[in-house]
Symmetry: C2
Amino acid sequence: MEEKHRPRIEIVSTGTEILQGLYADTNAQWLSGQLLAIGLPVAYHAVVGDSIEDLESHLDVVSRRCELLIVSGGLGPTEDDINRFAIARVYGLELVEDEAAVEQMRERFARRGRPFTDANRVQALIPRGASVFYNEWGTAPGFLIEGTEGRATLVALPGPPRELRPMFDRWVRSRIVERFRPSERYLILTLHTIDLPESEINAKLGDLFDADPSVSVALLAAVGKVDIRLTGRGGDEDKVRQSLRRFHRRIEERLGPENVYGTDDQTLESVVGDLLKCNGLTVAVAESCTGGMIASRLTNVAGASSYLLEGFVTYSNEAKVARLGVARSLIERYGAVSAQVAEAMAQGARRVAQADRALSTTGIAGPTGGTAHKPVGLVYLGLAWEDGTTVAERRFLGKRNENRTYAVNAALDLLRRHLWRQTGRERASG
Amino acid sequence: MEEKHRPRIEIVSTGTEILQGLYADTNAQWLSGQLLAIGLPVAYHAVVGDSIEDLESHLDVVSRRCELLIVSGGLGPTEDDINRFAIARVYGLELVEDEAAVEQMRERFARRGRPFTDANRVQALIPRGASVFYNEWGTAPGFLIEGTEGRATLVALPGPPRELRPMFDRWVRSRIVERFRPSERYLILTLHTIDLPESEINAKLGDLFDADPSVSVALLAAVGKVDIRLTGRGGDEDKVRQSLRRFHRRIEERLGPENVYGTDDQTLESVVGDLLKCNGLTVAVAESCTGGMIASRLTNVAGASSYLLEGFVTYSNEAKVARLGVARSLIERYGAVSAQVAEAMAQGARRVAQADRALSTTGIAGPTGGTAHKPVGLVYLGLAWEDGTTVAERRFLGKRNENRTYAVNAALDLLRRHLWRQTGRERASG
């Protein structure tokens, strides 16, 4: 039987910018997700500044206590780019110029019509014996130093995510799998819910959190939506998949299947788009307080032109009257933010655009404009179809742009639930 | 004269979720920015998982080598919430129940109609002698242990950002300032540029990067935009402000003032909004490939209703004809993605909405729909005003949603530059 040793893995990100709060350490986040997916969970992240003493002493300690060390950043041509020097010192290796790397940089500079200077040449210095990862997406190459009895295998990658990620994909992942032969697979399945409070999900799923040691359950809350992230692990990929499917089914049963709108890469707008497409339906939107955000979300999805006919951003009362045929008396009587106007907007958009369905929003996003009767956060959402209209009243408690996002999600969800009910709760494929 | 000792500060975030790549460590990012602003730069970030041995050994090492240690997360009621136990052990302090914290939690649970269980009571355990930070934004209180000769001052905060941030604002910042009396102030000024490549900015500002040791310059590139972040430091706040102003002026001279569209919290849409408002002008937008994103960006700004009359999301050709009066022959002859149609869309939107200015977009966002002649990423941006129209052709090289964002930024910038030229390059206030 294969030995089930799990290597200790650490990530070090370098750069004063992260310590100053300019960026979050998204490289460590991305790398951790990639490593987990191949069965190699990460034990520790660190961020060290651009001081060579700090970095050397950190690398000296951690390279002795772990088996794989991934270091990002600090490979550029400036004085702050100290990583190759610190790594070479800690590993006791000489830095030697890699001819192929010099040539590659020279060509890159020539292609861009920029002069190749000696300052750039430093980026081709590689610890002797290390494997070089040529950089097709930027300038500085990365490298890998094989581990020894007392030192971790070390991978050095450039800091910019648009270089680090493809370099990891192209060169590093397969090398790590080959080197550590992880015995377990980690598979992740994310279920997206909307309109259920985190506390309610927590209460309804409570006993599932510890039901199976090979499946961990985590809740991630966003604006009006909660994701349920299932991480399954085990030596047999098929069994892990089965466990995840079982959890998926159970969670849908507990929460009600209509409350779980999709999985993984699916979004509210892609699910709504699939439902419209599958049923050969078209849609139009009339937006006041959301000011174009619903249309913008729907058109995030490639191919939206096959179902989105048109959007009306009727921010002013005049536009509501002139474009959607909302009766001026209705606005005068009930106010622009009212169920009556939301209904008339949806009906008007459907009629004018000759669409099968239409969504509308009117509300008070804030921070001003609220009254005791109609507070900031009050939104009416309208939906019109061939033989009916429905209006939902919602009161959101966030800041202006949170309220707008809540309203967009609630409007898309109103259409999604309507389409599910109309099409016998059958889901669109995909 | 005051001693200019700068304390070593470290941040520890706890939680397996971060090590699994579910989140980036945004608490460390936010705290670092806050500490820098009060003159206390952070030296080191670490993320440790939910193993009590790992956390204890980490805290033991770092609490001996720094003077302020901020620990976030792990204060909740579950088994994974180990921070109070690890901290108490490392500092050799007994955990005692804080009566006021129990009462506060009991009341909070009662208000929400939820039962208060013994499991929740653990959150009121505080190391003896620590100052307690009551939590008005969630459940678990934070605390502060005063440092001694051999151990850092330690601040423990809950993990959810919506609890950590107000708790830091209310209780922690002033305590830290009082304790460490930072002798320098750090002030940050961010200049926003658009339409200049990072390499060009780098080349034009090259010598400013080392011109003044008290002002550091960093470039942060986003989609089509580059921010120039100036961090000034010194004992005299007025002098730091002067240095930043001097850098600001010099950078505007080097890059051209029209290329620096704003500072700090200003956005393209807020700057455009201010220019429209100051000049008493209204605007309408007609969007095809950007599908509502321009309207949505303009309505991000509170008060946009005073200048944005209306938006048309004319995704289909029919809508372009029916809503904006674009001649069908124009679409047939030049195609929907053409300078001619962009021009007609802007003119139509201006006329129909009776606006002073109108913006339009038509293009191929991708991933499909491109041809050799009209590739993915080709976008036409139109601008109409009382006595003219202009059309810009742009070719973006990103993915679908990057291309859409590029196009929105370029369209807003087209209007901004036009308004600056028309109003004698005078800027809106604010």
